[in-house]
Symmetry: C2
Subunit: 102 residues, 2 copies
DNA sequence: ATAGTATATCAATATAATTTGATATAGTTG
DNA sequence: CAACTATATCAAATTATATTGATATACTAT
């Protein structure tokens, strides 16, 4: 593995990696990822699943969207979220590894 | 991927996964992992590499040790830390993926 | 034994993240 | 257009995490 040394480039990579990992290292956001792994859902369904206030769910979705983990699609009043399949299989494999570990 | 539903077992798995991800989603701790990827190092070498106070480094090492990401070995006054190779290749692959993404 | 070195722990502070409450925006329906 | 619904945003409060400063522990050497 490349080492995060003290060059400008790797410093940037390091902070991007941290942002990505922080995005997935939250209980509610992991639940969202798992829920969406079943397929696209609209925000109201995610709210119902998590049993959390709508504005809080919206906040967590934004963090996952910012990290390109989720993509969103608007249809009338509803916004549908789904897992960004581009490159996401690695993340899924990693989670599988984590889950199997315990 | 298995979904973190509302059973007791998967709730436990979820919080364990979160603890693991929180452990690696920190800039200084990622630097430690990368540094140790070159091989076993003693605490004083890690302190020198990170340019952080010794007690802070000790704190970060403890978090990584608690998650079985690192193992430690005492030799006289020194404590040597290294990556726990058991299962760790998955983590390395994941980090490689993250680094390549950007 | 005494002094010195490396590492760990503890309490206090600073900083960052999550959550809550209130409100705004955008689309829909009558 | 007025009322309604779904989602997003913003500021404030709460909670978690990182950092600092002081000190303890464990080992070594004189």
């Amino acid at each position: 593995m490349k080492c995060f040394c003290k060059t400008n480039q790797s410093t940037k990579q390091l902070s991007e990696t941290v942002l990505f990992l922080k995005a997935v290292s939250d209980e509610n956001r992991l639940k969202i990822i798992c829920f969406l792994n079943k397929g696209e859902k609209c925000v109201c369904e995610i709210v119902e699943f998590l049993e959390l206030p709508q504005n809080l769910v919206s906040h967590h979705l934004k963090i996952l969207r910012n990290q390109n983990i989720l993509i969103s699609r608007k249809n009338g009043l509803n916004v549908f979220y789904s897992i960004n399949q581009k490159n996401i299989s690695n993340i899924i494999n990693f989670f599988n590894f984590l889950i199997l570990k315990s």
